[in-house]
Symmetry: C2
Subunit: 409 residues, 2 copies
């Protein structure tokens, strides 16, 4: 057990590793801190970051749960890193990899943070967990809570796609739709969890443990690229814990002396909900909550109202890593979904494709050079929300007759 404490990223106040959600001194985001020196001394590199495979608990030395009995896995992680040829050529990227997070058990990357969050809830002897989610976190927490036999309360925006709702309900979670956008769900989940002593696994930056699961993407990428650090990592971004998690993972590898650099981190949002990109574009270090959410990329439609500091954390990561932030339109998202499907045979939900759309834009803007080594995360399976980007599902219906077939072909 090398996790030592929670520490406020703003005022550096420290706390023990229990269910705290923000700094009681300044309200800042809490981050898990480890004794890296002792890890380094006592373990080989292969022990610290073994080769990728399903089950993120292979990286337990760098995760916050100490006791094996609480480590709850649904064989998350170990997702493929696909070298793109066809799509890469289309958008002019010469060294492009797609990290396919759709291959996680629930169909989205959220299984990494939820695996850690649920395990920590067990270790802290919690009887129930809760989350606010745009849908993917909901499906994931429901699956892990079922496995761990924890009661589970889920708060999702009214407009959440039906498949994600069914996924959560099937697993026995208590699902409540909250009118309005994601920030409303966030606020109500926070209030209810606090009143009822549920562990709140909302995987923005609220829960300090879940982001530790996101780190494991970095460890996998390092191996999958032949023990190298890519030039750029491009990430669909709501509140941004995945951006911070992957960055932290690479920073840990550098801190441990395993690598000597970190990648440049890119946050991609939808034009219709871009609180972080908006601040980035106007060179502000403060984020303003978004008012009117309007995008088909529902899984990243996080307006950050009331927890704007999450976006500011992402801006810091972008700054530190010399990264970028960019927004894409729904039309660009649909084009990216179809490009991924038709050029690579990878079917993703709208929010997952913004990384490809963002890369396309940054190459055309000259921000990213065509020769750079780039990893695009695709974060959720197309079946999560199959019809938002595929409009022409009204296919021809014919009788079992070859003449009718000839007419439609």
């Amino acid at each position: 057990m090398y996790a030592e404490k929670l520490q406020c990223v703003k005022c550096q106040a420290t706390y023990e590793l229990i269910d705290y959600y923000s700094c009681s001194v300044c309200g800042g985001i809490l981050d898990v801190r480890y004794d890296y020196e002792r890890i380094s001394k006592k373990h080989t590199v292969d022990q610290i970051i073994p080769s990728p495979g399903m089950n993120i608990w292979r990286y337990r030395l760098l995760l916050p749960v100490s006791q094996e009995e609480y480590m709850t896995s649904l064989q998350e992680g170990g997702t493929p890193l696909v070298r793109s040829e066809s799509l890469a050529k289309t958008i002019g990227a010469r060294d492009l990899f797609i990290k396919d997070e759709t291959r996680n058990p629930s169909g989205a990357f959220k299984d990494r943070p939820m695996s850690v969050g649920i395990s920590q809830a067990l270790q802290l002897k919690k009887a129930a967990v809760a989350t606010a989610s745009s849908g993917n976190g909901a499906a994931s927490i429901a699956m892990y809570a079922a496995k761990a036999k924890l009661a589970c309360y889920i708060f999702i925006p009214e407009a959440t796609p039906i498949g994600k709702v069914a996924q959560s309900v099937a697993c026995g979670a208590k699902v409540i739709k909250v009118k309005g956008d994601y920030s409303n769900s966030f606020r109500l989940a926070k209030q209810a969890a606090s009143e009822c002593s549920w562990m709140n696994l909302t995987s923005t930056f609220l829960n300090p443990y879940t982001v530790e699961g996101d780190k494991t993407v970095a460890y996998e990428l390092f191996h999958q690229l032949g023990r190298r650090v890519p030039d750029w990592v491009i990430i669909p971004t709501g509140a941004g814990p995945l951006v911070y998690g992957i960055y932290k993972g690479f920073a840990e590898l550098r801190g441990l002396g395993i690598t000597s650099d970190v990648p440049r981190m890119v946050a991609v949002q939808a034009e219709g909900c871009k609180p972080i990109v908006s601040a980035y574009e106007s060179n502000r270090s403060t984020v303003t909550g978004w008012e009117k959410v309007r995008t088909i990329a529902s899984a990243i439609a996080d307006p950050l109202r009331g927890y704007e500091q999450d976006g500011e954390r992402v801006l810091q990561v972008i700054g530190e890593s010399k990264g970028a932030a960019v927004a894409v339109s729904d039309e660009e998202v649909v084009r990216a979904v179809l490009l991924l499907a038709q050029e690579e045979g990878i079917f993703v939900e709208p929010a997952a494709a913004v990384s490809i759309a963002g890369l396309d834009k940054l190459i055309r803007a000259g921000t990213i050079q065509g020769a750079a080594q780039v990893v695009c995360l695709v974060t959720g399976h197309g079946l999560k929300d199959p019809t938002s980007s595929v409009k022409n599902t009204e296919v021809p219906v014919i009788g079992p007759d070859i003449a009718e077939l000839r007419q439609v072909l």
Copy 2:
């Protein structure tokens, strides 16, 4: 290259390894035959069946495509084998494993046969492929055809769930809905493929290559069980190529001297479409096509009308392996979906859960002993058809207000 020929399973007539779909002498099913003796002589066991992982082409010595450049993978296979504790206890199975095929790229086991079929189509220099499918084969062929840059024509029953349609359309396939049940789609695809010289990858027993992909499940199980053969393997069954494929894989291991036994194979169908179970129950070796399909397990709702011999092939496997066939009701299917979700955190579509429902029934009937080692295949992700088994997706909708929340809790 150790695949030698196609051979009729009835009259033993042989054919070269091109696009034949049935024996021209007797109309029988064609099967790929290999030179096992030469494989055995020239390769170690570890070369023949290496450890599981994504990409089934690691088993290329036992697959029919000879040239590496045609081997098309989307990182299929290498799916988890989950030891069940909670669910096992509920149904009284003491040594139960779940082979989670939902973790394939399209969300269903079909990626194994389609990977082989598309690769063989490339090797045979085909310009287009086609399939009849209840939806999962459609989604899979579309993804692989996109990756391989082959034109793709898909024939699906009118009632196919929207997600599977969207998945196929997104990948650029030409999708045609055919009125009536699956047998109509089957017949029209066959006729059209023949007229247009498309390679027909319909993964019943029609295409002789696709079933070779199904074999890879057996190789993985052998490893995942600690180089052992399970007592029983229980499989959701439409036309049954997965039953035959897994059986063939284990029979190959025995033939190669790697194991000394094969598992007892169980085919599970839905009460509302059970042509194979019906024959089995009345001790017939001939199958009668089903007339009125009526089940929520759409992915296995294959009436076999016009290709009844597929069912007879499955009956032979059951007979040779001392297996069984059993049908389950839609109510039992729904219960099994919820059991898998709530006890194991695994979310599957209705058809995928029939293996669990069938096991439950066979244990209660005394056919399978509680102490036997059993593997249940779960074949398709819950997101494939999220609402057929989860009816109560009408969850409460409230304002962002704790008082409203108290009322619904």
